[in-house]
Symmetry: C2
Subunit: 555 residues, 2 copies
């Protein structure tokens, strides 16, 4: 008992590492880009937990590439804890043997390569998380020792301007720095005076002016020209059968053409239904270009953003009553708070999925693709800690009551609407509603504890296909819910098991509604309903403020 | 269509208000404390949404009192959106007719007065939230126009040092400022150079040196001298029947003597059970003084804090490997991130409650007390968006499987442990397990949409009384769960309905365990088991680093 326990090992360790790279500093906290590899070799030790910033949008790509260049005799066995792994460099770290373990949330274009790396033993997979869940673990058991983040501008005291693409930076930096870790920022530019401070200089150890601006992916841009009549039919069903029926005001739209179609129908079909000002008034989502007509038509009161969207910078700046804007006139996006709002302050999550099973569990994972979850499960669930009531939430809860009573007795509770949209067949005639999710195979191959499900059957309230809407939470018991799913599953194997008499009963009971049941004329479901039919028309709606990336400019 | 819509009304409105108070500024963003009432009359308009910072700990009390002094001809009909209303001044605003509507999370000592104000029509109640849920709404539909926050120090550029008690400040300031609102900070001191920057100066409009330091409530301090043998027996049951059985590592302890007893048994009974390093290694909670012996004995690897705790400043600073500490050597507490971690990164919530019903729903509300929720429901629920697995979470999910299959089909899922501890009778022999929660009466009186339930029956996994542990999630169906509750309800009316034969079956099936079933010798459940028996011994354990508030110093 006489030995004195040390309580500042983390601090001492960090001080030793920083002392080693001291000669690299130029002025204040600035280090030359050419010294980045030396810096990383100096501050990173084998087995460290390392974060490279990057979600589905901005990427600390220069730092990621520099990490690939370290001497792997010095730096190896790293445990990467990071939102996303969409860059080639992220996977290269594993292929080179610099990194060995991965905890993440979203894979994007690398989903197949990750699956291969796992099967080849190059990646030991910790877990697949939602963004907010991973941030949560950064504060408990997965805090990074070194984080590599991205900013628009930095000053030599370490202050960062993350502006339009603030995104994950505050969560990563806080979790790292206050566990005595090391924060290294790449900036597009090092300046004397920042437009505004997003991250205080105290929290940052090193700033580097990168040789090129950080990469940003315009993930949330959908060209209206690619919206089909089926998308439009399903969007009409959503508006009439769900938005109008529940009076849903606070919403997240997932990424994809289904929700892009809904956005472009608000000022047309939505107005016709008399819904303006009554539904879809508050949203949490990235600045989708396809929302421009609805914003310009006065539908939206407030939008909070996870991140930015390339080309929307100027438009967003000129709409400060709608978006969260800093004193410098630029968007403040913040993934942690936007996901928190998505979990607790929304009445509905609506988005597409790749595959649902006969019970209503759905997933975007297939046997050979570890896609990750991003933010979907965090919003696509019935947030159990929610306590405030809205009309939509109460109505949905009442409809769920017969099931809920099995668990709560006579105690009532509301329920969030979680809507999964999918055509019964995907590209190449792959059925989207199946007996058993591909996620089971993936779990086996990647040795996951559980199949990676995006939305569980007890959370999904509506499955919407081109055949109709299944109001799952209104059903009594698993058998009836499965029947409702069959009834909207068309010519898939699951759909062919539907019993026409049973389907008729479900329709009569309002548990399934076809376009006809909803009074929707299929003839009208065509592109003339869209408020904008292509990217050019979105630019026009914006009065020239929207500046689409080159690849979307086809006029 | 020719009229030009304005998109910067919020901004213009703020500029007009700030222009009106321009003459009050001394140097930079500083205003004299004597001008505070003038300032508030200048920047606040009737009907505004206003936030006064304050949770269960630090309070922007000077600003709250100043707001009570405004001319109510000028300032009235305010909609207060704030974490807590524990100060007399908070309620005075309503009694004076300055404020009329309230959205909040926690009432503390004002719970009876709030109930009265609601019944007298002086408070229109929006909703009762959890902290994180309310923060979420700040970013969507409840953003404050003016926020009044508290800091230790500020400089004249508006930078704030919130240090040990950072707590809610980042969430409030970000939500307010980036919706073009106005942020006013009271600081204990205005200085030239801050120890560290917690809030960048860009985000703050006004700083005021308050005439006295902000008030902080030592809410999480429990004197070990008040721990009873029953608390100790129940703590032993928790350790052996839950911590050990599930190997739970990441935990939140609710406030109260039950969990204080658990903390003080870790280095004694916990070591005896061989649990050190295996359970309770990572925690999210305030720096409870009763955790000192466990920390000193090497039980804890990491703690993340919602807020500070009076008297623990120095101790926490000297344990930087355990707590989140800034470069200045002081705790960085952050309620938003700690609650996020509490929701998504923990395997167990364990805490006391006042009342459970026969189904297992529990609440701290009684007919005449609107207590609020604080953070409990956010942690005391099965976070549905969670996707990473731990052994404890998987085991609990497997045990819940027969119930879960009714909703998910054959799809497996984990489940968080949610443990409610209560003696079968409270003070004055009031039964704590009842037919129907008092929350029903409160809902009626306060015109709430739903009874304010803290933990719902489908989230609670264990009810632990001095009679035994009911493993509710292992039961099949509502009837069996109710029987398990009856079996641990002692001599309450609910307990007297227990059928001894049925209880014997439940015990045989491991659905109910008494101290004897757990192999716990009741004779040992006495105060000699505690690692510290009073506050003085906690100070000794801390090597004199813990500096308890005067009211706890009785030696």
């Amino acid at each position: 008992m006489s030995e004195v326990k040390k309580w500042n090992l983390l601090q001492e360790d960090t001080e030793q590492r920083m002392a080693q790279v001291k000669p690299l500093f130029k002025q204040g906290k600035e280090i030359d880009a050419a010294d980045t590899v030396l810096l990383l070799e100096g501050v990173i030790r084998p087995g460290d937990r390392i974060n490279i910033e990057g979600n589905n949008q901005k990427q600390a790509d220069f730092l990621a590439e520099a990490l690939c260049k370290v001497d792997k005799e010095k730096v190896h066995h790293l445990h990467m804890v990071q939102s996303a792994v969409p860059l080639a460099a992220h996977l290269e770290l594993f292929e080179l043997g610099i990194a060995e373990k991965l905890d993440f949330a979203y894979a994007g274009p690398q989903s197949e390569r990750i699956a291969t790396c796992i099967q080849e033993g190059k990646i030991k997979l910790g877990a697949i998380h939602t963004y907010l869940e991973l941030f949560a673990r950064y504060f408990i058991d997965l805090y990074p020792k070194v984080s590599l983040v991205a900013a628009f501008e930095a000053d030599r005291e370490g202050n960062l301007y993350t502006g339009f693409n603030t995104e994950d930076t505050p969560a990563i930096v806080e979790a790292t720095k206050f566990r005595q870790g090391i924060v290294i920022a790449q900036a597009n530019k090092i300046v004397d005076k920042l437009p505004r401070v997003d991250i205080p200089g105290d929290w940052v150890d090193v700033v580097i002016e990168a040789p090129r601006p950080f990469y940003v992916e315009p993930l949330f841009t959908r060209d209206p020209a690619l919206i089909t009549d089926t998308h439009i039919l399903m969007a009409m069903m959503a508006l009439k059968g769900i938005y109008a029926e529940y009076g849903v005001q606070r919403i997240n739209h997932g990424i994809g053409f289904f929700t892009a179609a809904i956005e472009l129908l608000l000022p047309t079909y939505g107005e016709e239904l008399g819904l303006k000002g009554k539904v879809c008034t508050h949203m949490v989502l990235n600045p989708h270009p396809t929302l421009i007509p609805a914003i310009e038509s006065g539908w939206l009161q407030a939008i909070h953003c996870f991140g930015g969207e390339l080309g929307m910078e100027n438009y967003v700046s000129q709409r400060p009553d709608i978006f969260t804007i800093g004193p410098d006139g630029t968007l403040r996006s913040n993934r942690a708070f936007a996901q928190t709002a998505g979990h607790y302050a929304l009445d509905m999550f609506i988005g597409g999925t790749l595959q649902s099973d006969k019970y209503g569990n759905s997933s975007t994972a297939t046997a050979d693709r570890v896609a990750g979850f991003g933010g979907a499960p965090n919003m696509g669930c019935d947030a159990k800690g929610r306590r405030h009531a809205t009309d939509a939430w109460l109505k949905c809860g009442e409809e769920f009551n017969s099931t809920q009573q099995l668990l709560l007795g006579e105690m009532p509770r509301g329920k969030r609407l979680v809507v999964q949209m999918q055509e019964t067949f995907r590209e190449k005639m792959i059925p989207s509603i199946v007996e058993r999710l591909d996620a089971w195979q993936l779990a086996e191959k990647a040795e996951l504890s559980l199949p990676p499900v995006m939305v569980y059957a007890d959370d999904v309230t509506h499955i919407l296909t081109e055949e109709g809407i299944a109001y799952l939470h209104r059903c009594e018991g698993l058998e009836q819910r499965m029947a409702a799913i069959r009834a909207v599953s068309g010519y898939t194997e699951i759909g062919l098991q539907a019993d026409p008499a049973e389907t008729a009963q479900l329709r009569a009971a309002g548990l399934v509604k076809t376009p006809e049941d909803l009074g929707i004329n299929r003839q009208r479901a065509n592109r003339s309903m869209l408020a904008a039919k292509n990217i050019k028309e979105l630019v026009d709606w914006s009065g020239g403020l929207y500046n689409p990336p080159a690849r979307f400019r086809n006029w």
